[in-house]
């Protein structure tokens, strides 16, 4: 019986971890290419949840499809935010001062988005009711929530698409080249500023889609970002800053640790396990699980 319990927690953790992984990939991509720590990442996730909610309530769009539909508009939103705001604090001079400016900008953006949504849409939590949210697949003694299973499958699919894009297409390789060495990328006719815009657009689109998937089983409210932004940061650091596969594994690990923590600690303390694991990894392997070398910013 204890084994069945353990398997149950592992499965639940894996499923949740898949969605964390998708969120974290977006953050890692932005950091990897732009060297910008985007504190507003969680707020774009929240906006993705609301867009999915709006599509579901207003037009009867299934949230799993709605999550996919958030991708194009959020990609464009990312391009616009980069062009209007981030371009002024990236690649222009003293990196130390730029880092301060980036921090203030993305943190400010986060506050503005949270508060604007609270004002416009009320702080009241909402949820999308789907038939599968309360259903479970029964596998022997294990119950597997259907909403989480579908969300996991979609997250995995999107992560694979991103991986193929980054490793098989010219644009994807150019993004990685710009992350590796912006100056040398410029010499290959790769416009680094354009790459920043594309990376930010994709990063925002992925976290919005992850938000849409999350909305199939998680309540939607303006302050939901705070519950996830820290998890994303931990996943990205765990995986090795800027590493996409690392962020993916980091996300899965966090889902697992969060879930397994419930075996020994009450629900309210589930993130304690995450932070203990985080500190352990930082202590034993400071470059992260997949970080190969130290990169100075």
């Amino acid at each position: 019986m204890i084994v069945a319990d353990l398997v149950q927690y592992v499965v639940t953790g894996l499923l949740v971890g898949g969605v964390y992984a998708l969120m974290s990939i977006g953050l890692a991509l932005i950091f990897g290419v732009m060297r910008v720590v985007n504190f507003a990442q969680g707020d774009f996730m929240m906006l993705g949840m609301y867009l999915t909610y709006w599509l579901a309530i207003g037009y009867g769009v299934d949230p799993l499809l709605g999550a996919l539909l958030t991708i194009p508009p959020f990609f464009v939103l990312g391009l616009v935010v980069h062009r209007l705001l981030l371009v002024h604090v990236t690649g222009r001079g003293d990196p130390q001062r730029e880092m301060d400016a980036q921090l203030i900008l993305t943190l400010g953006l986060s506050l503005i988005i949270t508060n604007a949504v609270t004002m416009l849409l009320s702080p009241e939590p909402r949820g999308i009711k789907t038939a599968y949210a309360t259903q479970a697949f029964v596998v022997g003694p294990i119950l597997v929530n259907q909403a989480r299973s579908y969300a996991f499958a979609m997250a995995l699919l999107l992560a694979v698409v991103v991986y193929v894009f980054l490793t098989r297409t010219d644009l994807g390789k150019a993004l990685r080249a710009a992350a590796d060495d912006p100056e040398a990328a410029g010499y290959q006719a790769i416009d680094v500023r354009t790459m920043h815009g594309v990376a930010f657009g994709i990063g925002i689109a992925l976290v919005a889609a992850a938000g849409g998937l999350l909305a199939t089983y998680y309540p939607i409210e303006p302050t939901v970002a705070v519950n996830f932004i820290v998890l994303m940061f931990v996943a990205v650091v765990l995986g090795g800053l800027g590493s996409i596969p690392g962020a993916f594994i980091g996300g899965i690990v966090i889902g697992l640790v969060q879930s397994l923590t419930l075996l020994v600690l009450p629900f309210q303390l589930q993130n304690v396990g995450v932070f203990v694991a985080f500190l352990l990894v930082l202590y034993l392997r400071p470059q992260g699980l997949f970080g190969q070398r130290v990169r100075t910013v």
């Binding site: 990685r176 080249a177 100056e183 990328a185 006719a189």
Partner: protein, 241 residues
């Protein structure tokens, strides 16, 4: 001979220090020109100014009759300037093949990628056998070949080479210089080479400039420069770097 590159009155300063002052030079279509000079003379800065990585304080840079001074590095590369930078600067986390393919990222070269790749792999067979390896795992000499190959993949009109011999053993250096000579023979490519190895560089080139503390102090044809007493005393006699 029409001018491929024409630099006039170029000045660059870093935080009040003049790295380059009033530098003028030109490279004709199909010409092989070298810039030699001691460490810190501003040779690398000059190449970076030409390819756009360094902000120019004064002067003009014309490429094929067009003023490119205000264009981004990517735009200049798109026009046909390929810069093989100092320290090789391959993309370490990408494979050798990916590095080469990104060399032909510019639209004009992309359609000819397959034939460029074939030519580059014929020139550097070792890159073919390492195609799937990460560029960061190559030896210094192999990385230099990769950087050169990546530059050639752009099918450039003008190839800028910055210290291709830096940090390499004598046999590899010889191989690199031989390859540059071969590239030159095969394609009549216009090349601007920056080197600290004065003799080797001058022997390859048609013409040369001597740069010292940010200024052109001497210019002339290969033989005139090799015979010049100052060059002989300072660079050829002083081989014991």
């Amino acid at each position: 001979m029409s001018a491929m590159l024409k630099v006039s009155g170029l000045g660059v300063s870093y935080g009040g220090l003049h790295a380059l002052a009033d530098v003028s030079l030109d490279v004709g279509d199909g010409e092989f020109v070298t810039i030699v000079g001691p460490n810190g003379a501003g040779k690398t800065t000059l190449l970076k100014a030409i390819s756009g990585a360094v902000r120019v304080g004064s002067g003009h840079i014309e490429f094929r009759g067009r003023d490119v001074g205000a264009l981004s590095p990517a735009r200049r590369a798109a026009l046909g300037i390929a810069h093989v930078p100092e320290g090789r600067r391959v993309f370490p986390s990408l494979t050798v093949l990916d590095n080469l393919e990104l060399g032909s990222y510019r639209a004009a070269a992309r359609s000819r990628r397959a034939e460029s790749l074939e030519a580059v792999l014929a020139l550097f067979p070792v890159l073919g056998s390492r195609a799937k390896q990460l560029a960061g795992s190559l030896s210094g000499g192999e990385q230099q070949m990769l950087a050169l190959g990546r530059g050639l993949m752009a099918q450039p009109d003008l190839l800028l080479l910055d210290e291709p011999s830096q940090g390499l053993g004598p046999r590899i250096v010889e191989h690199i210089f031989e390859t540059i000579a071969e590239i030159r023979r095969r394609r009549r490519l216009t090349i601007l080479l920056v080197e600290q190895r004065v003799v080797e560089a001058l022997e390859l080139a048609d013409r040369g400039y001597v740069l010292e503390t940010g200024r052109v102090v001497l210019a002339g044809g290969r033989d005139a420069l090799l015979a010049d007493r100052k060059v002989q005393n300072v660079y050829l006699g002083g081989e014991s770097r």
